[in-house]
């Protein structure tokens, strides 16, 4: 019996030990990719885009327009478009903070933590990401009005990096400071 077990074990124990050695990070990475891929596949469906993402983006445009009004800009909003006589922006996917939000949500849900920590992290993290994104839209509009030459670089490189980096750093801070390891795992 013992011989039988020894003879039949090596292949599975080799793969088992790899899985066991890296179980936590592999589980995290697989869950992260599945949640992220699933959520983006979902919002690529036209109905979801038209009935959820577009109204959400229009809300961001409306809020950004309000902030621009407060800053003395005379702007009008039509759906996802903000315009004044000198410049107009159309807020589209990639500029509505949804990507950073989904990356953050997928990372929080995939990480081993209590649901209480997750919900607190999701609430505060999503709010923080949307605040940063609001700053991005307002700053980009002002860049378009006053510094149109650097609008493209600012739009695609600088602010994309800032918003995504902000989401990632928020997650690292949350995971490091507020997410608790599962009770079954010893604290190292």
């Amino acid at each position: 019996m013992a011989n039988k077990q020894t003879a039949s074990k090596p292949p599975s124990s080799a793969s088992g030990s790899f899985w066991q050695r890296n179980r936590r990070e592999l589980t995290f990475l697989i869950l992260f990719v599945v949640i992220l891929g699933g959520s983006f596949t979902l919002i690529s469906v036209n109905w979801v885009n038209d009935h959820v993402v577009e109204p959400f983006t229009a809300g961001i445009a409306w809020l950004s327009g309000g902030v621009l009004h407060l800053l003395g800009q005379s702007v009008t909003m039509t759906g996802t478009v903000i315009r004044n006589p000198r410049f107009a922006v159309n807020i589209r996917n990639g500029c509505n903070g949804v990507e950073a939000m989904f990356i953050f949500i997928a990372a929080v849900l995939a990480f081993p933590a209590s649901w209480k920590s997750r919900l607190a992290g999701l609430g505060l993290g999503i709010l923080a990401i949307q605040v940063v994104n609001l700053v991005r839209v307002v700053a980009l509009f002002l860049t378009g009005v006053y510094f149109p030459k650097i609008f493209d670089t600012s739009h695609t490189v600088i602010w994309q990096t800032i918003v995504i980096l902000c989401g990632v750093l928020l997650w690292i801070f949350w995971a490091n400071r507020f997410a608790m390891p599962p009770a079954s795992e010893p604290a190292t």
Binding site: G37, F40, S44, V168, L169, N176, R177, P181
Partner: protein, 196 residues
């Protein structure tokens, strides 16, 4: 209790602080390397596209420091530039990658640079694949009747969804995915149960 709490707080806070300090140097390096990297990416992606077509008809032409054209040599000259895209957009995630990998505290420089090197290598392959998907997406969905004639419904959806997924979620999250792959255990090691 205090000793259990302080390392956890300082590791995360230190990483955020380091990240902020690394942003400018990494951005400068990325700016300097961008023209060269653009050429390399276009050349490599062009070769990859040509592996999937016969005869070879696709050229990826540099327009300026940022943009590139997809050219089909079998189209009439006036219509041969079938698509354009911003090459810089493909690889700005290298900025995030550099910042995240260099910012990890309490890791020896040698290990940090080794991990960064592997991560950059993986990212280069990803960037080439992404441009390949840009080209296929353009062929399958952006050329009107020609696309309909040469790509079926499955092909159009495959290249469309593939480009959508690679271009938005995975391009943006790749630096984080790689960071988590290399440093997940370091992060977990810094987590202590909170005192009751």
């Amino acid at each position: 209790m205090t000793t259990a709490k302080s390392p956890r707080r300082s590791w995360g806070a230190q990483l955020v602080l380091n990240a902020l300090l690394w942003v400018i140097p990494v951005a400068l390096l990325w700016l300097v390397a961008t023209p060269l990297y653009n050429r390399f990416l276009l050349g490599s992606a062009e070769n990859l596209v040509r592996l999937t077509e016969s005869p070879n008809v696709t050229n990826l032409l540099r327009k300026d420091d940022h943009f590139a054209y997809v050219q089909r040599r079998d189209f009439p000259p006036a219509k041969s530039l079938v698509h354009s895209f911003r090459v810089t957009d493909v690889h700005f995630h290298l900025l995030m990658l550099g910042v995240l990998f260099l910012a990890v505290p309490r890791v020896p420089w040698r290990r940090r640079l080794e991990n960064l090197g592997w991560a950059v290598l993986i990212t280069v392959f990803f960037d080439i694949l992404l441009i390949f998907f840009y080209v296929k997406f353009a062929y399958a969905t952006q050329l009107g009747a020609w696309s309909l004639e040469h790509y079926g419904a499955f092909g159009r959806n495959f290249w469309g969804l593939g480009k959508h997924l690679l271009d938005l979620p995975f391009k943006f999250s790749l630096p984080f995915l790689l960071w988590a792959g290399f440093y997940f255990n370091d992060l977990m090691a810094e987590i202590r149960p909170r005192p009751a």
